[in-house]
């Protein structure tokens, strides 16, 4: 039945994949990818559009069959999956509580608890169609948390959220990791925000370009070759955010033009 094999015994990796290749319709989405994630780890897969991020994620959870290579799950692995987006037909009436009870029913207490964990308390009776983007994302997260997963898998979880919204969402993910101890695997394009919250980053472009801690990846030439020109600003922001002490305020960015002005007026004298 399953297209992923199970691992028994004392293996710490929740998921490991070796030499993973997935092609559909003559197009090779990912090739020769090695991957592993262990208990309690936050791993982020970054990569440009069409780099096979979602394909890798789907192959890892067993939703697509690899053309070559193999995926191993720890025996009894529970995955909580948060999809990229869910287009729910408006003709399908469904409240948040009912959605959380699919496909298995859960007690009201349990549902309330998961909603609270995901920062979506009080939404149980609301129809899905009446939720904002951020609320919907939290409802999806709450659903993924219901089965007390060993691994949370999130595919571009902040698509459609503004920057403060996605920063808050990633903080929430970190909180959940520290309170439940589950590992987190996400795919994202929001490099700077995600990288600050990750233990390890895998940079993907059909194959693994580079991987390691966020610092190592951010300074890797392969990563810079992929993201250097297009996202120079975001990368700078990421570096900036990290070297930056929040207590000293934002004087430097504001004072720069002032100083220039002062310089000019001095020159004029």
């Amino acid at each position: 039945m399953s297209i992923v094999s199970r691992q028994r015994g004392a293996i710490v990796n929740l998921i490991s994949a070796r030499n993973l290749t997935v092609s559909h319709g003559g197009h090779t989405a990912i090739e020769g990818v090695d991957f592993h994630i262990s208990r309690g780890e936050i791993v982020t897969v970054v990569g440009p559009n069409g780099s096979g991020k979602t394909t890798l994620l789907r192959a890892l959870i067993g939703a697509v069959r690899p053309t070559k290579g193999e995926v191993k799950h720890k025996d009894g692995l529970r995955i909580g999956y948060v999809p990229q987006s869910l287009s729910i037909d408006p003709t399908l009436p469904m409240t948040v509580a009912r959605f959380l009870a699919l496909p298995r029913r859960h007690g009201t207490d349990h549902i309330e608890q998961a909603l609270e964990q995901a920062g979506a308390q009080g939404l149980a009776a609301r129809p899905l169609s009446a939720l904002s983007g951020g609320q919907f994302q939290r409802a999806l997260l709450a659903r993924a948390l219901l089965d007390r997963p060993d691994l949370l898998v999130l595919d571009e979880p902040t698509t459609g959220l503004d920057q403060p919204g996605s920063a808050a969402f990633y903080r929430l993910i970190e909180d959940i990791r520290s309170s439940t101890g589950c590992a987190v695997l996400m795919v994202s394009h929001e490099l700077h925000v995600v990288m600050s919250a990750s233990d390890r980053v895998v940079c993907l472009n059909g194959h693994v370009c580079c991987h390691g801690t966020p610092d190592i990846v951010a300074s890797a030439p392969e990563y810079r070759a992929l993201f250097g020109t297009g996202t120079g600003g975001a990368l700078a922001l990421y570096r900036h955010d990290h070297d930056h002490n929040h207590d000293h305020g934002h004087n430097h960015s504001h004072s720069a033009p002032d100083r220039d002005l002062a310089q000019t007026s001095q020159d004029a004298k």
């Binding site: 039945m1 319709g25 789907r58 959870i61 067993g62 939703a63 995955i79 909580g80 999956y81 999809p83 869910l86 729910i88 037909d89 003709t91 399908l92 009436p93 469904m94 409240t95 009912r98 959605f99 699919l102 496909p103 298995r104 129809p127 898998v153 595919d155």
Partner: protein, 266 residues
């Protein structure tokens, strides 16, 4: 015996179809499979022609060809063709081909209207047994897979992650669709089966707050349409199948006007 009366038999047959069509029709609406239902229903005419040529039962012919069409279409759906065009081609080709094939059979020219628009007033006890047998099978399948079907409808990936095989759930819906077409052809005919699938759930939507409620209300709307349609047909000598669909359309209009008025006044 109560089934001796043709009108009673018509009511019993119509209610059977309405009960099976309601929950299945909800999925047809939620999954936007209306065209898919149309193609399956139109293929039934080809099934009738084949059944007459091969001298097998019409229900068996319809079931076989509709199932073949449904499976063919749903496997094509995986490959990202322009689905509305493709289904339009298949639905109308099957209908046209079926009409041409039927024309080769002598003596069925008069019956053709019955296959296209139904002949509910002529159902026999045997027809009722077939209709209720098929309807019970469809209802049982949908009840059994209800949660899995709903999860698959929301998202294939969510289904995968929950250990549900979306391909298998889709196959169950496909099978149910072929079954409903086979049993409903006598009641409303090949051209109006999709109407009986779609209109009751669509009429139920403004009144429903949960998927289960929508299916139950759709079954109620379908039953009301069957009763009202047959009554109109009896009083004014109108064709029964189209009268049932017209009654369902009136309920659809009523619930939507009601919902609109409620929104305006609140």
């Amino acid at each position: 015996m109560i089934l001796d009366d043709f009108l009673t038999r018509a009511v019993v047959a119509g209610l059977g179809v309405a009960f099976a069509a309601a929950p299945l029709g909800c999925f047809v609406v939620w999954r936007r499979m209306a065209y898919f239902g149309e193609a399956t229903a139109h293929a039934a005419v080809l099934g009738i022609a084949l059944a007459l040529a091969l001298e097998v039962s019409v229900v068996a012919g319809v079931l076989g060809v509709s199932l073949a069409m449904a499976v063919a279409v749903s496997s094509m759906g995986e490959r990202g063709y322009g689905m509305d065009t493709l289904l339009g081609v298949l639905a109308h080709s099957a209908l046209a081909l079926g009409l041409v094939a039927v024309s080769f059979q002598s003596g069925v020219r008069l019956d053709l209207m019955a296959y296209l628009f139904g002949d509910i007033l002529a159902v026999s006890r045997m027809d009722i047994a077939v209709i209720w047998g098929g309807a019970a099978l469809v209802i049982a399948l949908i009840l059994w897979r209800w949660s899995a079907l709903l999860t698959t409808t929301l998202s294939r990936d969510l289904a995968h992650a929950s250990g549900i095989n979306p391909g298998r759930e889709k196959l169950i819906l496909t099978l149910c669709l072929a079954l409903v077409v086979a049993v409903a052809i006598k009641v409303v005919g090949a051209l109006l089966i999709t109407a009986l699938l779609i209109i009751p759930p669509a009429a139920a939507r403004p009144l429903a707050r949960s998927p289960e409620a929508m299916a139950l209300i759709a079954a109620f709307v379908g039953s009301v349409a069957v009763l009202a349609g047959l009554w109109i047909s009896y009083l004014y000598d109108t064709p029964a199948g189209p009268s049932i669909v017209s009654a369902a359309a009136l309920v659809f209009a009523a619930t939507h006007i009601g919902a609109f008025a409620a929104r305006r006044s609140s």
